[in-house]
């Protein structure tokens, strides 16, 4: 199963998901109101590359990262 990791201040444990694409991940998160507040402002990476749409296939060995707004320096 693919792994979802929540980075920085989201402070959630990693989760495993059985999905074929990122649209299915959106459906899984649809009813999680607290997470939705983060998703609204977060970017998404698949295997450490930021994605530009949800029209992306996901394989069982993939890693999906949720990245909230950043502020280095």
């Amino acid at each position: 199963m693919a792994i979802v990791e929540f980075l920085g201040p989201i402070e959630r444990e990693n989760m495993e998901v059985d999905i074929k694409n990122l649209k299915e991940l959106k459906d899984i998160f649809a009813d999680d109101k607290k997470l939705q507040e983060w998703l609204e402002i977060s970017a998404v990476a698949l295997n450490d590359t930021l994605v530009t749409s949800l029209d992306v296939d996901v394989n069982p060995t993939d890693k999906i990262s949720i990245l909230p707004p950043v502020c280095g320096g």
Partner: protein, 147 residues
Amino acid sequence: MLELYQGSLKVEDILSRWYKKYRDKNYGAFISFVGIVREEDSIDGLSFDIYEPILNKWFQEWQEEAKKRGAVVLMAHARGDVYIHESSYISAVLSPKRKVALKLIDEFVEGFKANAPIWKYDLLQGKRVYAKERSLKLPNSGILSNL
């Protein structure tokens, strides 16, 4: 060269080492930017989380861009807690001519602020408080949201 440290940066050591490494490589300009934690809003300091895999890719792209211009970019950043008047961030550019370095350091620091996967927290009375209002959304944020 990208260097990550636990806690505050030893600025004099890092800059001195970089200078010694490059001073005989025929770069005419060495420009550095050092970020120092300011005393404001009753904070004790700042704290940082870093996601290294994407940071490494991001930095690699800047190295390639610098190389195209005959330049080199260097960066050091802290993870964890950095207190007031300590330093969390150094970036530097070396290039044969000053104008290339001056332009590139500005672009590099601005690009860093907008895209480097680093999260900042204020240290307030022993707690880490995410600096949400000062943070910037990455490109294509919100695509997983239903809101």
